[in-house]
């Protein structure tokens, strides 16, 4: 136990007492050193604990791949009807449009109400950047996750746009038209995303693959 705090006298004589800075005592150095090493140890120990909160690895790679591509039959979907399927844990609304609904999507009165009527913001593959915002005018396919805070908008008649139908988010009242385009002055900032898709045949939609835009995915859009 060193009761004397001062450095040993041999060292002090070398200074000639000129030093302006107070010499750190042996105890100060040891305390600072111990605290630094102990702190480094505690930080190292924290690494595995924080690491364990990362996403758990999937039990097998094959099972995740199966879910990325999904075929949906639209054979029994009457014109004017819609259905919701779950793709990769996300709700995807598929609507079979009547000719009136397709025409309504190009109505100038509707376009004037929309935030992004020309679909300039990348929420869809290039081949869907058109007036009906879909690959084929008669089928609209949208991921119905509100771009505001992630609730699921419902497909329903919206009073201001009776002809095209639309999506209404119950959480904060965002409204989208029949092509998933958000109206002005709504909390949601972007249109509903279009998933990567193509038609395998006339009545089968394959979700998760878009041969025309091979790099398009839910990770490459502006916001889900």
């Amino acid at each position: 136990m060193t009761q004397k705090h001062d450095a040993n006298p041999a060292h002090s004589s070398l200074d000639d007492g000129d030093s302006l800075l107070p010499r750190p005592t042996r105890r100060t150095v040891l305390t600072a050193g111990s605290l630094a090493l102990g702190g480094a140890g505690a930080c190292t120990l924290a690494v595995p604990f924080l690491d364990s909160l990362r996403r758990t690895q999937a039990s097998s790679a094959a099972s995740t791949h199966e879910q990325t591509v999904m075929d949906v039959s639209v054979q029994d979907l009457e014109p004017g009807a819609h259905k919701v399927v779950v793709w990769q844990g996300m709700p995807v609304a598929i609507q079979h449009r009547t000719p009136e609904m397709i025409r309504a999507l190009e109505d100038p009165a509707l376009l004037a109400q929309l935030l992004d009527p020309q679909s300039r913001i990348r929420q869809q593959p290039r081949e869907a950047e058109n007036t009906h915002r879909s690959l084929r005018p008669d089928y609209g396919v949208y991921v119905t996750i509100c771009t505001h805070l992630g609730c699921v908008p419902d497909y329903q008649n919206i009073a201001s746009l009776p002809a095209s139908g639309g999506f209404f988010c119950p959480c904060h009242g965002s409204q989208f038209d029949g092509a998933g385009r958000v109206l002005r002055n709504m909390p949601a900032p972007y249109n509903l995303p279009v998933p990567p898709l193509h038609f395998v045949d006339d009545h089968t939609i394959r979700l998760g693959e878009s041969p025309l835009s091979p790099h398009y995915s839910m990770n490459s859009i502006q916001q889900l």
Binding site: T31, V47, P48, D51, L53, T56, A58
Partner: protein, 398 residues
């Protein structure tokens, strides 16, 4: 370390008025000249802290459901990032915690730390030991492997030995007729909750200690040393040194010998139709397992195991001699020496098969256990009080 106390007029000082007196008390707490065995308490705090934190992180991934429990533990080992390390800290830590705990209790026995005025320190400490044993047992059930299932089966069926209400109590505790999903969920909640209860009682244990002060191992010697030193920095440094050594052992156990203290049978999912050939408890519960086995009566074994713990609670009143330190009490030194050998014998007996040799060794060890505490200590204490000239028994001045 005076710097650790906030200066006067500190912003916190006026808003948390107890902070400054508390820091001062901790820093200036007068310590008698205690030896290295008094650092085990700090090691226990560190071990418990690691168990608590690793347990919380494991509980984020564990599923207390009959069909998911085993797989969720496998997932922690294989798929949760760093999960194997956290589980290793938890399963290896329990052995080190109990090793330190038994040394801590043994030190209390040898140096008479149970005596007045430290009875509550002793009793709260023993209560903590019981809580740790319960928590460890409940935790061992959770992975729902073969050893978990059959260990839990055997111990819960010990309840059936209680005359009259035994079976009803067993079914009530299990929540259904057999050991199953309801019981597993209860074991999980028990294990989880006890961690917090232990934390609170550790606080009480230390509060009691700080009321009376640490015992002085030199008082009974021919040259008693009554000097005290402030806790900071002298004993902070000493405790830190001991904790470093403790953590070094911990690290070696986790990284280099992960399989040393685990049983292979427990990585087989629980099978209620097949008891493993060799069912042995973890070493830290082995003494009481050996006792259950050494008495040829179910109720008798249960009573013997419970009594072995009960006598420890009665120690402050069984040994009322003013002398503390066994080093300077020849007969107590002999008795305690035999008791420590008996305790180790019981651990070994519990971990070996029920051969006649180990059963008889356990019986001998139990005899030593009870003779030391129920006969030797009261007699020696009586003679020492006579020798002290009928002077009234008084605790050392704190």
């Amino acid at each position: 370390m005076k710097d650790s106390t906030p200066p006067t007029g500190h912003w916190l000082d006026s808003r948390l008025p107890f902070l400054r007196p508390f820091c001062q008390h901790m820093a200036r707490f007068p310590m008698p000249p205690v030896n290295l065995l008094w650092t085990i308490g700090a090691c226990l705090m560190v071990a418990f802290g690691l168990m608590f934190v690793s347990g919380l992180f494991l509980s984020l991934h564990y599923q207390p459901d009959l069909s998911l429990a085993f797989d969720s533990v496998e997932a922690i080992e294989r798929r949760v990032p760093s999960g194997w390390l956290i589980r290793s800290i938890h399963t290896g830590g329990v052995s080190l915690l109990f090793a330190a705990l038994y040394i801590h209790v043994g030190r209390g026995l040898w140096y008479g730390s149970y005596k007045a005025p430290r009875e509550i320190v002793w009793l709260s400490g023993l209560f903590l030991m019981l809580l740790f044993m319960t928590t460890a047992f409940a935790g061992y059930v959770l992975p729902w492997g073969q050893m978990s299932y059959w260990g839990a089966t055997v111990i819960t069926h010990a309840v059936e030995a209680i005359p009259g209400i035994g079976h009803g109590l067993l079914v009530y505790l299990l929540g259904e007729d057999t050991l199953g999903g309801v019981a597993l969920h209860r074991f999980f909640i028990l294990h989880f909750t006890l961690g917090f209860i232990i934390a609170a009682i550790v606080g009480l244990h230390i509060l009691c200690l700080h009321g009376t002060g640490s015992s002085n191992p030199t008082l009974d010697s021919p040259h008693p040393d009554r000097t005290t030193r402030p806790f900071a920095p002298f004993y902070v440094t000493k405790d830190c040194l001991a904790v470093c050594v403790f953590l070094a052992i911990f690290t070696v156990l986790i990284f280099f010998l992960p399989g040393l203290l685990s049983k292979l049978d427990n990585i087989i999912p629980a099978n209620p139709l097949k008891t493993p050939a060799d069912i042995t408890p973890e070493w830290y519960l082995a003494p009481w397992f050996a006792m259950l086995r050494a008495i040829p009566s179910r109720l008798g074994g249960l009573i013997a195991a419970a009594s072995s713990l009960l006598v420890l609670f009665l120690l402050p009143w069984l040994d009322r001699s003013p002398r503390h330190n066994a080093t300077y009490r020849p007969l107590v030194r002999l008795g305690m020496g035999f008791f420590f050998i008996a305790f180790i014998t019981l651990i070994l007996a519990g971990m070996h098969g029920a051969t006649p040799l180990w059963v008889w060794l356990s019986r001998g060890a139990m005899l030593v256990w009870f003779l030391t505490f129920l006969v030797l200590l009261p007699l020696v204490a009586y003679r020492e009080r006579q020798a002290a000239g009928n002077a009234p028994t008084q605790g050392e001045t704190p």
